[in-house]
């Protein structure tokens, strides 16, 4: 083999593509020719570089996230979330959507404001906080958010009690994260991202790793102070947000740097979605750093409304670089989980045009009518998934009225006002007299299959009433019926004799909120009847079978920014 032949074969040689004889000839030539050896070495070096590149990028998988963003950008979708306020008011305001006993313990701070510094100094304090955690391998945030437990991760409601929301995030050796509210959880285990809505056993899966997903970005941002700084600073520049720094000395003499950000969402005050999600809310955000360690120690977020400020978020537990149990990255899914189809994967129907040409109101009507006929195949063209819960809830529904659709600056679809009459719904109420007053009181709500919907936490024992004996003689069924009656009469004092203070408060809030929106509360209040009671030895309580007939008036959210261009129900049921 001469030099020309050898060089022609060098790449094949380093790739191992030569047959034995050619390979031996090549090797023999290389042993005798320094120039070809140098050429061989150069090719081998380049091959190693190329192989190394392939190895470092073997796990890269950007297709789905890019395509999702591409579709979102194209349709000018503003929010990442795909499932919003699903079955948010399943039980109507009559039964309450949330147990109210999740009381928050706020840290009592003895503060002595000393200095007011500039925005640049505020950013400097945050930057030092970011530097203090530059070698972050993991972080765990545990906070309290005023929200509905099953609703979106960024959903806020000043009238709701506080619920725990947590983020676990591991940066090394590979990125993993989990965000959890009581009834909604999402886990990114390094391979895929799966969300579970526990009230419906609905799952949503992105088959790839994500840096954040659904509407958890606001929490990730707190975990990654560099992003927070970037976000707050960009907004300060673009939207004129005000940043300030104060110092405070605690009772124990420790100095804290407090950065306050006044965030304006830019969403008009009269917008339907205003102040419903972190991103569209006007807030005052308070980041508190330890002046010595520079570490971020707490975050408080206040909703700033014309009527005054309400605290909606309190983060007081931040664990830096603590080992995270591997169980955190595992999500136990129920056997009968219903998987929601991702909007971007929605394909066209054979008669797609029929659906694509509908108005939002026509789509809402077609959806409710399909549910009314229990034609789930048809209803499934408007919503995914159609699971048993939804069938129970909307099966047989009758439309009373549909209003003119309206829009929000913060939502890419439309809202259609509706008034519907639901089929009687069966549910169960757990009552117990294992208390000091020895009378039956309501302890929890269960669906018709005895799955817990709402646990009523009593912060104090039921009190002994002046005529306690009369109440103690009531049967479990009579107690539940009396509870319903007091509720429908809006008799809060009487209602409190049967249920926890937080339940009364929550119901009252819902009624007041409904009245503010001009609803006829008496007309909309479900008619509820208590039936047979069954003793559960396991739970040491009575379960009273009940049913409710309810008129529901709300706004259904529909959007058509998907590849099929069909309206999809996105929330507001």
């Amino acid at each position: 083999m001469n030099c020309a032949e050898c060089r022609e074969n060098l790449v094949a040689c380093v790739e191992g593509l030569l047959d034995r004889e050619e390979s031996l000839q090549c090797q023999a030539h290389l042993e005798t020719c320094a120039a070809c050896r140098a050429e061989h070495a150069a090719i081998t070096r380049l091959q190693r570089q190329l192989v190394a590149r392939g190895q470092t990028t073997a796990e890269v998988s950007l297709v789905e996230p890019v395509m999702r963003r591409v579709l979102q950008e194209q349709k000018k979708t503003e929010r990442e979330t795909i499932m919003s306020t699903i079955l948010k008011h399943r039980w109507g305001f009559g039964l309450g959507t949330a147990a109210g006993a999740a009381a928050i313990i706020l840290i009592a701070l003895l503060t002595l404001p000393k200095t007011q510094a500039t925005a640049a100094e505020a950013i400097a304090a945050m930057t030092k906080g970011a530097q203090a955690v530059a070698q972050l391998t993991s972080i765990h945030l545990r906070g309290q958010l005023r929200t509905a437990p099953q609703d979106n991760f960024s959903y806020i409601n000043a009238d709701c009690p506080f619920y725990t929301i947590e983020l676990w995030k591991q940066f090394e050796p590979e990125l993993k994260w989990r965000v959890e509210k009581p009834k909604r959880v999402v886990v990114m285990d390094g391979k895929s991202t799966v969300m579970l809505i526990k009230t419906d056993d609905t799952g949503v899966k992105f088959p790839q790793r994500t840096t954040s997903a659904f509407d958890t970005e606001w929490l990730h941002r707190i975990a990654n102070l560099s992003n927070t700084i970037s976000n707050e600073l960009d907004n300060a520049r673009a939207k004129g947000w005000k940043l300030s720094l104060t110092e405070e000395t605690r009772a124990d003499g420790k100095l804290k740097s407090v950065v306050t950000v006044l965030a304006k969402s830019g969403v008009p005050d009269n917008d339907y979605c205003k102040n419903t999600f972190m991103e569209n809310a006007d807030t005052r955000r308070v980041y508190r750093f330890d002046a010595q360690s520079k570490l971020l120690e707490s975050v408080q977020i206040y909703l700033t409304r014309p009527s005054g400020e309400v605290q909606i978020f309190d983060l007081s537990q931040i664990d830096y670089n603590q080992p995270i149990d591997s169980g955190v990255w595992k999500l136990e899914l129920p056997a009968d989980v219903s998987w929601a189809q991702l909007p971007e994967q929605l394909s066209k129907l054979p008669d797609n045009e029929k659906y694509a040409s509908m108005t939002a109101q026509q789509a809402a009507r077609a959806f409710f009518e399909a549910c009314g006929r229990e034609d789930w195949n048809e209803a499934g063209k408007f919503m995914s998934p159609i699971n048993d819960r939804l069938k129970e809830y909307l099966g047989g529904v009758k439309i009373i009225n549909l209003g003119e659709p309206f829009t929000s600056k913060d939502y890419p679809g439309q809202f259609v006002p509706y008034e519907i009459k639901l089929q009687p719904q069966e549910f169960n109420v757990r009552v117990s007299n294992a208390n000091a007053a020895k009378r039956c009181v309501v302890m929890g709500m269960y669906d018709n299959k005895l799955r817990l919907q709402q646990d009523f936490k009593w912060s104090t024992e039921p009190e002994v009433l002046t005529n306690n004996d009369a109440y103690a003689r009531l049967t479990p069924t009579e107690v539940v019926q009396a509870y319903f009656d007091a509720q429908s009469k809006l008799d809060w004092v009487e209602m409190h004799k049967f249920t926890s203070e937080s339940d009364v408060k929550e119901t009252k809030n819902q009624v007041e909120a409904a009245e503010k929106q001009g609803m006829d509360v008496h007309k909309l209040m479900p008619v509820m009847e208590a039936g047979e009671a069954t003793w559960s030895a396991e739970q040491s309580a009575w379960f009273v079978k009940c049913h409710a007939v309810q008129v529901k008036k709300w706004n259904i959210a529909v959007r058509k920014d998907n590849p099929a261009g069909r309206w999809q129900v996105d929330g507001g049921l």
């Binding site: 380049l46 590149r53 890269v60 395509m67 930057t127 970011a130 600073l233």
Partner: protein, 184 residues
């Protein structure tokens, strides 16, 4: 046989947006490697890579030479990376941001000309390099996939090596840049 970059770009422009996924699939790994040479960590790189593809998609109509899609994409990625670094630097000037991040990024600047050199290859050569090293296919598998004799694949690979080495040698003395004539 797969369509060329030019054909896919034209199909995307004609409303077949779903075809953009083929281009993402084709170039995600070299783009990632290119950005990894410029930025700090995997997370930043992934974000920058996504951002580059999205910007490319939104600007496809402005691409004058569809056959140069990859080279153009690298130009976009270069600007995205610069923006990220500048944004960090800007904050540093404002308020003493994270020197270590900048230092880290600077430390890793030596790697990325390889992707630029690959971008400069004619498409048939580039395709073989990407399939062989970024997709991990053997030459025999490439031959089957492209419906070519194994000998042709080997020759193409040899020629690609020669062109790559020429390109890298030419870049060695120059400041690393990519084709930035077509701004998105």
């Amino acid at each position: 046989m797969d369509l060329t970059d030019k054909e896919y770009v034209e199909r995307c422009r004609d409303g077949h947006q779903e075809d953009f996924r083929v281009l993402v699939d084709r170039y995600q790994k070299p783009l990632f490697a290119y950005l990894a040479g410029r930025l700090r960590d995997g997370l930043q790189v992934e974000e920058a890579a996504q951002e580059s593809f999205v910007r490319a998609f939104l600007s496809l109509k402005k691409l004058r030479k569809p056959e140069s899609f990859y080279s153009w994409l690298l130009g976009i990625a270069g600007r995205v990376a610069k923006e990220q670094l500048r944004s960090m630097k800007h904050r540093q000037q404002d308020c003493e941001v994270t020197e270590s991040i900048m230092a880290n990024a600077a430390d890793r600047r030596e790697d990325y000309p390889l992707e630029e050199a690959i971008a400069a290859l004619p498409e048939s050569y580039r395709q073989v390099i990407l399939l062989r090293y970024y997709e991990g296919h053997s030459c025999q598998e490439i031959a089957t996939r492209l419906d070519l004799p194994l000998g042709t694949v080997t020759k193409t690979l040899s020629r690609a090596y020669a062109l790559l080495r020429q390109e890298l040698a030419a870049r060695e003395s120059a400041e690393p840049t990519v084709n930035q004539t077509e701004l998105p």
